[in-house]
Symmetry: C2
Amino acid sequence: MRDAVRRATLAELAEHGFRGLTVENVAERSGVHKTTVYRRWGSVEGLISDALELAGAEPWPIPDTGTIEGDLRGVARLVQNGFADPELGPVSSAFVAAAMQNPDAARALHDFFESRHEQSSRVVRRAVERGELPDTVDVLEVIRVAVAPIYYRLFVAHEPVTRADADRAADAALAAARAGVLAARAEPHG
Amino acid sequence: MRDAVRRATLAELAEHGFRGLTVENVAERSGVHKTTVYRRWGSVEGLISDALELAGAEPWPIPDTGTIEGDLRGVARLVQNGFADPELGPVSSAFVAAAMQNPDAARALHDFFESRHEQSSRVVRRAVERGELPDTVDVLEVIRVAVAPIYYRLFVAHEPVTRADADRAADAALAAARAGVLAARAEPHG
């Protein structure tokens, strides 16, 4: 049942976005009784949080090209392609919009990205093992810096994002990591 | 009158966010008749677009520390401080949220950031004049990369942003610019 409701949530988000998402429509599409959906998920925000939780647990096709240049570009292109995808793009955008308007959705999206950062940072860990990057590097920050300009263009400045933009964002993160400015910081005492 | 309505829009956004913004409340707070507000601004989205247009025209206190390191960190700190500000922060966040839900607001925010990028890029142009950066650098992209991780933490990953995070984002952009990966690209022919 959880999977049916989740798939219905994603389909409704793809069609109508966050603003058009209703418990009634998800119930109807999933074939689960409305009363049950209300009891178990509570609200639209509960549906979104649950869908995000399942999405975060899914493995991501992390690239393994043999070099950190190729791998980081691969991660950035996954993000860029995801938003350009006619089915996946609107759903992902709806998640970001929902999190801006609701604290529960924001927490769920936070956890989702924590999982994504952790998975993606494998490409940076491998680079450290191969000696391409110093072992002082903050592996999660390299990922953040590599994808941030893509999200910034999409959701803040509302500018188009090309594959070249994705590559450039990845290259910038790598240059910063090599220059040592993305080193892990000592935790403050106290 | 335009200024009164605009100030009322900003005050309402600060108090209630985008979801709580209504034409009625803006009319009441501004002392302008509701019918007039509807006729001239049309809707909540029209009010937001107008407030953004005026905000974009305002000069930004671009830093001038004498070095590109200090100036870029200054730009990143302006962004970080702005969102941490108890009055300005909620308004800025409301603009970002509104743009995610409405095409008119998205266009207005796009224009606002175009203006901000242009103003901020002065620090990069000065660095080129001083010989700190090559004249092939894409001055607008340096600004995007310097601020993107701040917005990414705030509005996508929903992570806290410290001044050290802002500095690190600025340092990363500078390292990338120095490494030559933020060079302006030749426009494709055709």
